[in-house]
Amino acid sequence: MASPEARNAQREPAAVIEVSDLVTHYGTREILHGIDLEVRAGEIMVIMGGSGSGKSTLLRHMLGLERATSGAIRLLGEDVCQMDARALAALSQRIGVAFQGGALFSSMTVGENVMLPLREHTELDADTMEIMMRIKLEIVNLAGYEHLMPSELSGGMIKRAAFARATIMDPVVLFCDEPSAGLDPVVSRALDQLILDLRDALGMTIVVVTHELESAFAIADRITVLDQGHILLVGTVDEVRGSDDERVQGLLNRRFEEPDLDPEAYLARLTGSGEGPRA
């Protein structure tokens, strides 16, 4: 029996996402400086970088949420940069996105959130949708939580529910924005395992944007290291670890933390006293 990766490779072209010479500006400031990147079918590609490196901007462009100044992004063979809203809506049914904060709709239960894409895009009957919703919740280990509101879930549970919603349409590509951000190490490891399981069980291509080194090294087939809108390196975990590029090593050693803060200024900011800088 063929592996999920092999099955996926037969179904999809070798490159699921191709980014070519992508340049983008916010106002007059250039944010991405000619990005070239290829994501292969069935792989987990981690896009890694510190704050302001452009990784979230790159993700938003891949999703068609923002328009580039120049360049092209081919997602599942279609140029996202040239698509109108209607074509993007059609393409979006073949992708799934798990946002950083989950982005669950607070007025809906967990189950309704997960079923929303099915309700909007399919003619399935309510029972079938409910069965599919329960299966996805089971996969993310949230079985029995479908009647709760998002406000009743913990941070880790919200992210898992977001994964269930993102995969309800069995997407070809799954995008995850900072899946481990703000979670304790145990929950973070569980989410890493969930991403691996989703790839292995469903044969998805997965793109993960993160600044968490441990997560990136745990799940990545390949890693793209971004710094100030430039790609420093694309390679396997070992290639990134063993890179002799000073900038890559500098980023790894700083572990993508924020710039050093003056402790007194930080305390002043927290307590609201003095004239500490406001970040």
Binding site: R60, L65, S92, Q93, V97, G101, A103, S106, E120
Partner: protein
């Protein structure tokens, strides 16, 4: 301004073409919005319209007594409430109550990436978020104005009948004889314009949110101020135009 116009045109487009494009407007969210905007506003609309009706009657009788024309207060209350005060006070109330809620909800959804989530799920945010609110507002604001007309006229009638010693039946007969469909229609037409204004202002301000909770607070306040200002200005222009044609 351009965004506001495109919101209205997009809303009409999705209302008409939604089903053909596989994204029909569902009745359940419209009904939920109607409940929130209309039904839950009934107590406060009742209280305010009754108070204003009585207030108008008190002031009318007080001023008209100087000319010995107290009985003309019926005329003042009937025209004043149906053409002006009922739509105005209801519009302001809905702007403060539902326009602000709309801005706060959209602002929060924008910050929490829920609007982005809709887009990447292939769900048009205008169809999903704006159209139900706009439809509900277009139905419920005029309905609330009709209710405010009835309540305010009844409350004023109770005061007038007690103060001038005329029967309530006589008061209502005079009121019905004075009021034409055009007078009620004048108020209803204004309320439909207010409905569009309140919705569009709420959506435009809500989607312009920046920052976190502080930003949501700012756009919510802005939506109330903009909504009420727009209602009062349009009310004056509407009165100016319709009394000259």
């Amino acid at each position: 301004m351009g965004f506001a116009v495109s919101l209205v045109t997009d809303s009409v487009y999705w209302l008409v073409m939604g089903k053909r494009r596989g994204q029909r407007v569902r009745p359940a969210p419209v009904a939920a919005e109607m409940m929130e905007i209309g039904v839950r506003a009934i107590p406060i609309v009742t209280l305010l319209s009754a108070t204003i009706g009585v207030m108008l009657a008190i002031q009318g009788i007080y001023q008209l007594r100087r000319f010995g024309a107290e009985s003309q207060v019926v005329l003042g209350v009937a025209f004043g409430m149906t053409r002006e005060f009922a739509p105005l006070i209801t519009g302001i109330l809905v702007a403060g109550r539902s326009g602000s809620a709309l801005a706060a909800r959209l602002g929060t959804m924008t910050i929490n990436q829920e609007v982005d989530a809709l887009r990447v799920m292939g769900i048009q945010p205008v169809r999903f978020l704006v159209v139900p609110s706009l439809l509900a507002m277009l139905v419920m604001l005029p309905a609330l104005v009709v209710w405010a007309d009835l309540v305010s006229l009844a409350a004023a009638g109770l005061y007038v009948s007690a103060e001038l010693g005329i029967t309530l039946e006589s008061y209502f007969q005079q009121t019905l004889a004075l009021l034409g469909p055009g007078d009620v229609g004048h108020g209803l037409a204004k309320s439909a314009i207010f409905a569009v204004l309140v919705t569009v202002v709420g959506i435009v301000d809500g989607s312009s949110v920046e920052g976190g909770a502080e930003g949501v607070g700012r756009v919510t306040t802005r939506a109330v101020v903009h909504g009420i200002t727009a209602i009062v200005l349009v009310d004056m222009l509407f009165a100016l135009v319709t009394t000259r044609v």
